[in-house]
Symmetry: C2
Amino acid sequence: MTKIKCTVAYDGSQFHGYQVQPQKRTVQREIQNALARMHHGSTIKIVASGRTDAGVHAYGQVFHFESPLKIPLERWPRALNSLLPGDIYVRHAEAVPETFHARYDVKQKEYRYRLLTRPEPDLFRRAYTAHVAQPLDLEAMNQAAEAIIGTHDFSCFCAANTDVKDKVRTVFHLSVSREKDDETVIRVVGSGFLYQMVRIITGTLLDVGKHQMAPERIAEIIAGGDRQAASATAPPQGLTLWKVTY
Amino acid sequence: MTKIKCTVAYDGSQFHGYQVQPQKRTVQREIQNALARMHHGSTIKIVASGRTDAGVHAYGQVFHFESPLKIPLERWPRALNSLLPGDIYVRHAEAVPETFHARYDVKQKEYRYRLLTRPEPDLFRRAYTAHVAQPLDLEAMNQAAEAIIGTHDFSCFCAANTDVKDKVRTVFHLSVSREKDDETVIRVVGSGFLYQMVRIITGTLLDVGKHQMAPERIAEIIAGGDRQAASATAPPQGLTLWKVTY
């Protein structure tokens, strides 16, 4: 058996998220279907770095699986891509030691959130950005971001429906920058993220950028640990799991 | 009655083209459905500058219709957009004289064809570009474009299944330029275009760019008037009806 680590991109628009669910089109199901076809119908389970929600994209999601096939490693991406639908694309495959685990061994993850920042919407970017019509105060947003960076109990930025007990995470980097005339990108790198954490942070930074919340409030919100004190969850389509580091 | 001219953008990905067809989701049907809701169920027929095929996008399609409603003109886009699906967006509305006709009065049309020019595909641009993995010789393509500019019988660039008899059209402008590191755009402006003409021109320019056809061949192909001599039709998703001028 060879243990293989794959880096995969997907467009989340037409998926009910990453993880297999009965009767639903999910990323994991499509990849496992492709692997089953390569393995004469045998089920090959894949393990990813974590889930992504419906509508959320990935540029650098990582998963592992084990296979008895003797295929040269550089041929795996093409073999899988020939069996995968157009909204999933395996970018890279490499052999990893038997001890490697795509979820447990994650050192850090980077997410990017793309905002379309102009008065008019753009239907050609509607699946990959969230539209914000009013101007954003990026300086205030970056000031708020500074308060989020570090190791904290992030209960305030975690969706209520989660089983996770330990809500301490480390945010290594969080910044907001204008990328084009009409796009602003939020980049966040952390040790790991709670359920919907990046989208709640984004929603909160947006309120700061619109002057609906003072950047000084952020430290209190984190200390308070109350989800209700933070802002609404930003929509999924602006979010991309950019990179997973081991 | 007020005659209204609207400029509309749409993402062609999820439509069976512009024109109403039984049982199919089309742009015209969606717009007429929205207008019917504004007019208490009455059918309001719209007339566009021309059709677009399935998968082809529009940034500046134009249509006209007549309405008895007394709505201030600047409110029409918002009223329509609130009733339209997310993949159609009315950009502008204005009153026009009763004699205006969105199809017959067209002076020129501009189309743009976006090519993703890099070895790897990009699933986030797959609905809006055609992927060309090999390098393109833009100089050769622009040399070929020069031979297409002008007034010619364009039978060689017209799909076989058409009823149009007069195939003389004028191409005012045709150029190929690199827009980003990995995108190349073909811009064409003409008095009007035959069925699939822009996509056949694009396919032919691509063959020139790949050195599969000499740019000097273009003049012969036009003179010969044989569709078989030109190249394959480029796929629809790279094409956008950019602007219609009256």
